[in-house]
Amino acid sequence: MYQIPAWRYWLVGIVLAVGLLFALPNIFGEEPAIQVSRQDRGSMDAGGEERILGLLEASEIHHTASYIEADRLVVRFASVDEQIRARDAIQDAAPGEYIVALTSDSRSPGWVRWLGLKPMALGLDLRGGVHFMYEVDMPAAIEQTLQRLAQDIRNQLRRERVQYQSVNVRGETVEVLLRPGASVDVARKLIKGDDPGITLTESQVDGATQLVASLTPDRIKQRQDLAIEQNVTTLRNRINELGVSEPIVARQGLDRIVVQLPGVQDPNQAIRVLGATATVEFRLVDEVNNPYEAVQSKRVPIGSKLYMTREGQPVLLKREIIASGDQLTDATSGFSEGRPAVHVTLDSRAGQAMLKATTENLGRRMAVVYTETKRIEEGDRCQGTRSGNQCTQEEVISVATIQGVFSNRFQITGLMAAEANELALLLRAGSLATPIFLVEQRTVGPTLGQDNIRAGMIALVIGAVLTFAFLAVYYRGFGLVANLVLICNVILLAAVMSLLQASLTLPGIAGIVLTIGMASDANILIYERIREELRAGNSPHAAIQAGFEKAFSAIADANITTLIAGIALFAFGTGPIKGFAVTLVLGIFTSLFTAIVCSRVFIDAIWGRRRQLKTLPV
């Protein structure tokens, strides 16, 4: 007779107890809640909580629970109606003070939250919300860098009086054509400097020396990373303005950014705020030349550029930019003399440029150019300038006479109230340095999310009941043990998912359902082995022992092959599919543990200790 060591009992007991504890938060369900955070991004304290709850009481809105979590106040309600009313009440009573996000939160009691236990995180397809994928325009990022480099080179050569014919960006290089006789060595030194990110090659073109500067792969990679990081930060800021609870903004692959906004139902508003790479430029109006003449002759005077106003009037603007969007430090919408306006604050450098420009051009006009970049497909019409598959629309949104000298604080007028709001929002959140394009968009309504959860759970329960019944009929007493093992497996899987806070998606639920079916395999392998051993005339104890031992290599091999497929899915899958891979892979580990370790302990506890064991119910 063989008995398994006592520590196995302890191991199984402890793992199951811990598993139960971690899986526990999932049984309480969720209810509607609001997350209140302060507009100034300070943390919520007990005073703030009292104030909010006071506001709610005054409006006779009843809440079921409230607590502070990660600098935010969470207030739960029994119904969605109360949730919405609560949000409106707070926004009406204290406008601009708080950001209120609609969400739902676990109904788990205080001590569960105090232990830091959380239910499984639900993916967007179960919670409802929007998913966006943006592509960062990397060629544009590199082009910007090269343009800046070219401008630098021109300035340097001019300052050091090195004569050149041209400095041009061509492809991924900057070509510098020197005049014959100019000092090549000085030019080299000026262009290259001590910058390890630039490589220089030299050639002769029609007797003149041409230097070609290109960026090293390291420098290009660095620039691309910067472009992504800048955009991720900007998107995060913009999302904060939208007031969404638990948003996700993450880099994906080389040039993509994924944004997930749970609970958001109108993707278009989110797209407008997040997606448009809007920026503004402040330019002086060319007062010398006649814009109508330029339209007729199709000849734009040197140093100027032709624009159209919103009303369709042509206007000539100087090419020099006084200040641009990335130099804005703040922008708020409000009213100026009864008309909607955006109050703008610039950084000090742009402020100085503005001071100089307004001093020199008092009484002349200045224009605000609004530039919007979007992606278009082949065959699409572009109402602005087209370059590859990107369409840039430029529009003069205001032309105003410079009424006084100002530097870093002023107002833009001439907008509708809604436009002023939106422009201010975009400006305040910062301008996007490199254009991004929306390439994928998925929206799931909240009712669909609920339906998905319900359907998934029904399938899980029915599938489990069928399997349990089948195993019990086929393997009798051992089948019941297998059922217990499968239940332990689901509990452990839920515990691990809750612990890791990996998102549960609908395919993820399918993965759990599938795991039940596939996890029975390990039990089946063992029981079939025990039956074989019994048929071969072995004693029940020996049969159990041999059954577990001999089935092990088959179980291990079989699970490793599924694991390989699961890892491939995880590595190459995205979104909901990744959720499937997660449950599949985690399910392999939990089912290995439960089928091999737990079931051995259960069987040992029931049959292993009986001295007179003639038959096994297998």
Binding site: G275, E377, T467, F470, Y474, I564, G573, I577, F580
Partner: protein, 312 residues
């Protein structure tokens, strides 16, 4: 209860020519179906727009089609989705407009005809993303096959590995044939299902080959290759059938109750479990036999890692 009171004794290897012919017919039929009818690829792969809407009462497909045509979506596919109240509208790569606004325009068009329409889901996938997802799906398939090939070759033997992987290549082809025949939408989740099926099918073959090795090491007599393989398939038959049943139970439950979104996924796994079980029983071992697997091939291979085996 037992399906097989004692170990069955079916001559799988001897009858392999029949199953080869049956398999060849199925494979050719699948390939022809895929080539002729093609797959009804979802927007995950083609790019495009899908809008799922819910009506207060029974949805009127003709009215919806009319409304969409009036709004300029003449090539929109409209079909009921799950229940009689739900509709799915699919538009392939729309031309001449911002792809991201199409979803809203479709919803507006439907609302104009029936104001109480509720949008349940919108998906917009750009063509570039579609291409990338296709590429990543292909890479995932490739990675899975190569990974499993290496593992099985390392754990067992080259001829067995080839048999296993060929049997597993067979399964996705038949699933593709099934999707071409039924014209169910082939999307990313179906691809995920196929990968899971590959893992599953190989799992079955691996259990059989695991038994082959054991038969050989256990009997230690001059057993013929044919008997060795037959014995292994027969001895594991009960387990193979049982596991297929338990998996089928859950995926059928998933197909029937898991909602419309998981229909394609669960259908792929149902088909996959059936053909996977078939290929593991009838093809994997037979192929190893035809690759002239010899008992000696296995004896040279070291026994599995002793540490791994000592664990339970």
């Amino acid at each position: 209860m037992e399906f097989f009171k004692r170990t069955p004794n079916i001559d799988f290897i001897g009858k392999r020519h029949y199953t080869y012919i049956a398999t060849a017919i199925l494979l050719i039929a699948s390939i022809v179906l895929v080539a002729v009818r093609g797959l009804n690829l979802g927007i995950d792969f083609t790019g495009g727009v899908v809008v799922e809407v819910s009506y207060p009462g029974v949805a009127n497909l003709d009215q919806a089609r009319g409304a969409l045509e009036a709004a300029g979506f003449s090539d929109a596919q409209v079909q009921s989705f799950g229940s009689s109240r739900d509709l799915m509208v699919r538009v392939m790569t729309p031309e001449g407009e911002d792809v991201n606004k199409v979803g809203a325009r479709i919803a507006d068009a439907l609302r104009a005809a029936e104001p109480q329409v509720v949008v349940r889901r919108t998906e917009v996938v750009g063509p570039q993303v579609g291409r990338d997802l296709t590429e990543q799906g292909g890479l995932a398939l490739l990675f899975t096959f190569i990974g499993i090939l290496i593992y099985v070759a390392f754990r067992f033997e080259k001829k067995m590995a080839t048999g296993t992987v060929l049997a597993a290549v067979h399964d996705p082809i038949l699933i593709l044939g099934f999707f071409a025949a039924t014209q169910m939408t082939f999307d990313l989740s179906v691809l995920a299902a196929i990968l899971a099926v590959i893992g599953y099918s190989i799992n079955d073959s691996v259990v059989i080959f695991d038994r082959v090795r054991e038969v050989l090491l256990g009997t230690r007599k001059n057993i013929s290759t044919k008997d060795m393989l037959n014995l292994a398939v027969n001895q594991t038959l009960s387990r193979t059938v049982m596991t297929s049943f338990s998996t089928l139970f859950v995926v059928v439950a998933l197909y029937l109750f898991g909602g419309e979104t998981l229909k394609g996924f669960s259908a792929a796994i149902i088909v996959g479990v059936i053909v996977g079980t078939y290929s593991s029983i009838f093809i994997a071992a037979a192929l190893a036999y035809d690759f002239k697997l010899k008992p000696q091939d296995l004896l040279v291979v070291k026994k599995s890692d002793p540490e791994l085996d000592a664990l339970p």
